[in-house]
């Protein structure tokens, strides 16, 4: 059954992105919004909008009952969860389907399986996908943990089975530290997540973050190649690109095939991303986790493959089979996305909500600006700091970096500080230009370049 009316259970730039994709498919859009988002771009763009509660996400964008009620009253036949909020909430996906609506995403069962990191590792191992050496499942005893680290060696990460987003992770560099940290980690996991389950993984130092985009229709799965997202601050990606500058062609083939094998093994439906650590010295890759939703950085994949991932996931949710075959997915050129956040790089990235007093948007061939901004818009303080994504596409990586530098100079956001100056400095860095980085590269770089970030480059003279 094709979708006729889609409710968007999200906000910000991704809500705008979903409205655009739906409209191109001839689908009517319904935007839900909190009191703080009454004037948001998504609310203004959508065909219809419904207020669902106060600014606090817990009382609006996370309120399942109110969102389902809004879908019913608007006569929507499907709900797109975007990313974050309820996107990876199996209970919500189940409730949407139980009320006779379509959840634009995988089944509740897939979300639950991949959301449990131990179960996801086990699924990966049985599909023949390499995982970081460590416990196969949850550790039942301290003795078992010691037997394991005898094999993996140090350093190791101790992770809470129920944790996420970097929370509940400890690093032990010796047996002594390990003995000290294990009980502490167990108590903390129990207190923080109500689940004291732990697992242990070898820490691969100097590794890169590479992820594979997949699309499935519940029967077949294809991959749309990889993205590299190694430039991270506090485990948040700030710069993403496709293809990865560090993968050898033979490794790329193996990596992408492994992602398809795992997604196929769970009959995956919709857009998904399998995240890996990649050691470019040994060419080993290790599966980390699967994100069962559209990701922030999906546009770089769209730029190099020409596939509208959000459009495809809506078609699949409406019951279509995959329209694209694997051999038709080809890589053309190079794409980079940088996240324009409301954070001040000269003040240790302190958050900076405020009113956009002037806005100059970069343009030209191969430049895309996915944003929630307009002139006069007041960015509310209640949600994450992502304002916009600047995406460029060019024939190769060096040209893409030059185009990014040019586009950044045209970007003018007045009234609040943004991360633009960080990206300008990164485009000029020799290591970034050479693709020499890993997931722990950016943070020390930020410390040594504090002075550069405090004195941003001028904005090109363009009309606001």
């Amino acid at each position: 059954m094709a979708i006729k009316k889609l409710l968007i259970a999200n906000r910000g730039e991704i809500a705008v992105r979903i409205i655009r994709a739906a409209r191109e498919l001839g689908i009517v859009t319904v935007q839900v919004y909190s009191k703080a988002d009454k004037d948001s771009l998504a609310t203004r763009l959508a065909d219809e909008s419904i207020e669902i509660g106060p600014p606090q996400a817990s009382k609006s964008y996370l309120n399942q009952a109110v969102i389902l009620e809004a879908a019913k009253s608007a006569g929507a036949d499907a709900i797109h969860p975007g990313y974050g909020f309820l996107a990876e909430n199996a209970e919500f996906a189940g409730a949407v389907e139980a009320s006779g609506l379509i959840f634009v995403g995988p089944t509740a069962q897939s979300i639950r399986l991949m959301g449990d990191k131990v179960a996801a590792r086990e699924a990966a191992a049985s599909a023949g996908v390499p995982t970081v050496p460590g416990s196969r499942g949850r550790l039942e005893s301290i003795d078992e943990a010691f037997a394991l680290v005898d094999k993996t060696g140090f350093p190791v990460m101790i992770k809470a089975a129920a944790g996420g987003g970097g929370r509940g992770i400890r690093i032990a560099r010796s047996a002594e530290e390990f003995r000290h940290l294990m009980p502490q980690a167990q108590a903390e996991a129990l207190a923080a997540f109500g689940d004291g389950g732990l697992y242990v993984e070898k820490l691969v130092e100097g590794a890169r973050h590479i992820e594979v985009q997949v699309l499935g229709d519940g029967h077949d799965v294809i991959h749309c190649f990889e993205r590299e997202c190694s430039l991270q601050r506090r485990r948040q990606k700030v710069w993403e690109e496709a293809p990865s500058p560090s993968l050898a062609p033979a490794v790329r083939e193996k990596l992408c095939a492994s992602a398809v094998a795992l997604a196929q093994a769970v009959n995956y439906r919709g857009a998904g991303t399998l995240e890996y650590l990649y050691d470019d010295r040994t060419h080993d890759f290790y599966f980390l986790e699967m994100n069962t939703r559209i990701q922030v950085e999906h546009p770089v994949t769209e730029m190099i493959t020409g596939i509208d991932l959000v459009g495809e996931m809506i078609r699949i949710a409406g019951g279509e089979r995959l329209r694209i075959r694997q051999h038709e997915v080809r890589v053309s050129g190079h794409s980079i996305e940088v996240r324009i956040n409301a954070e001040d790089p000269s003040k240790n990235f302190s958050p900076n909500p405020g009113t956009v007093s002037a806005l100059g948007v970069p343009g030209g061939d191969g430049v895309r600006f996915d944003s929630m901004l307009y002139q006069g818009y007041t960015v509310p303080p209640f949600y994450d700091s992502l304002l916009a994504k600047l995406i460029v596409h060019d024939e190769d990586r060096a040209s893409a970096i030059r185009k990014l530098e040019r586009a950044l100079a045209e970007l003018n956001v007045e009234g609040l500080a943004t991360t633009k100056s960080l990206h300008q400095a990164l485009t000029r860095d020799a290591d970034v230009q050479a693709g020499r980085f890993h997931t722990a590269w950016l943070e020390p770089w930020l410390e040594s370049h504090a002075a550069t970030l405090a004195a941003p480059l001028p904005t090109a003279k363009v009309a606001p």
């Binding site: 958050p351 303080p381 209640f382 949600y383 994450d384 700091s385």
Partner: protein
């Protein structure tokens, strides 16, 4: 004795507790030092402590736990 107000330094969500399952930082009537934390303001998912800013006795909180606040909004009254 004079009454002063403690203002939120930032816009965001005001919390009276360090975590949902923890007790409130301060109660009405508590004596505070100027460096004491009386609450948190969450701005774009980052948490910022609100200090009393003066020694005295908290008369009452003007903002509720988990209430959206503006920068400069009074969140408590203190007798100094």
């Amino acid at each position: 004795m004079a009454t002063q107000q403690i203002f939120s330094p930032l816009p965001g969500i005001f919390y009276r507790k360090p975590a949902p399952d923890k007790p409130v930082y301060k109660n009405d009537g508590d004596v505070v030092a100027d460096s004491d934390t009386i609450g948190l303001v969450e701005v774009m998912k980052s948490f910022n402590e609100v200090k009393a800013g003066a020694a005295g006795k908290i008369l009452r909180f003007l903002a509720e736990n988990e209430e959206p606040v503006m920068a400069g909004q009074p969140i408590a009254e203190i007798d100094v």
